[in-house]
């Protein structure tokens, strides 16, 4: 029962963090939201019995992708311009 609840809650959380990543105006914050999404995704992978993918997603998605995103934001501009 608890597992089923997690199966329902985690996808919803993932979608929420994806939405936050899109909606935030601060690119640094949205990069962090993407990292949070990756972390939740890797948790979901772990629960779906894919520990290999969970490690890869945590290492690549949550750490390295965020690192290069933040590097790129550092090299460009932090805030999203108003229209």
């Amino acid at each position: 029962m608890i597992l089923e609840a997690i199966h329902i809650i985690l996808p919803i959380l993932i979608i929420i963090s994806a939405g936050i990543a899109i909606l935030l105006k601060d690119l640094l914050a949205s990069a962090v939201a993407v990292a949070a999404m990756s972390l939740l995704l890797s948790l979901e992978f772990y629960i779906l019995q894919a520990p290999d993918v969970a490690i890869a997603e945590a290492g690549v998605g949550a750490c390295l992708t965020t690192a290069i995103l933040i590097l790129a934001i550092k090299g460009t501009k932090r805030m999203e311009e108003e229209v």
């Binding site: 490690i55 890869a56 290492g59 690549v60 750490c63 390295l64 690192a67 290069i68």
Partner: protein, 156 residues
């Protein structure tokens, strides 16, 4: 990009060996426990990225050149494809797992459900090659981008 404060540097220095050892463990035990060349390589690369961020890319540029990373990556890739080519020579087919069942290293035949570190045939070899490649590749990407950005900051 300059380095961070002494606290960050120290903590990064302390945690770095653990991250690297965990990553190497993941690579070496890829055929037994969750993980493998990619995952372990990604873990080690994130450890290296941590050091890069803590000490700054200027410091890192004195220690390592992007040439060397590119070379290391080529070596990993060539090692991987060479193992695959050996499949033609010894196993008759490209990508054949020719070591399983021989007396070579990693050639042990697992008893039912009890593979150990000495089994897996070409799998551990490929794991090592891919691990090397992924470490060099992923860290290379982060390193080159960091270097390019710091250069731009200097010129601006």
């Amino acid at each position: 990009m300059n380095g961070m404060t002494k606290i960050v540097k120290t903590i990064a220095g302390i945690s770095f060996p653990f991250i690297v050892i965990y990553g190497l463990y993941v690579i070496a035990h890829g055929h037994l426990t969750p993980g493998g060349g990619f995952q372990g390589g990604a873990v080690v690369a994130s450890g290296l990225a941590l050091i890069l961020v803590a000490y700054g890319s200027k410091w890192a540029a004195t220690k390592i050149k992007e040439h060397d990373l590119s070379l290391l990556e080529s070596v990993g890739a060539i090692g991987f494809i060479t193992v695959a080519f050996f499949g033609i020579l010894f196993g008759g087919v490209f990508f054949s797992n020719f070591i399983v069942g021989t007396d070579l290293l990693f050639g042990g035949i697992p008893l039912a459900g009890a593979a150990d570190i000495n089994t897996g045939g070409t799998l551990p070899l490929m794991n090592f090659a891919v691990g090397l490649k992924v470490i060099a590749g992923l860290f290379g990407i982060v390193f080159i981008m960091a270097l390019a950005i710091s250069k731009k900051e200097e010129s601006a």
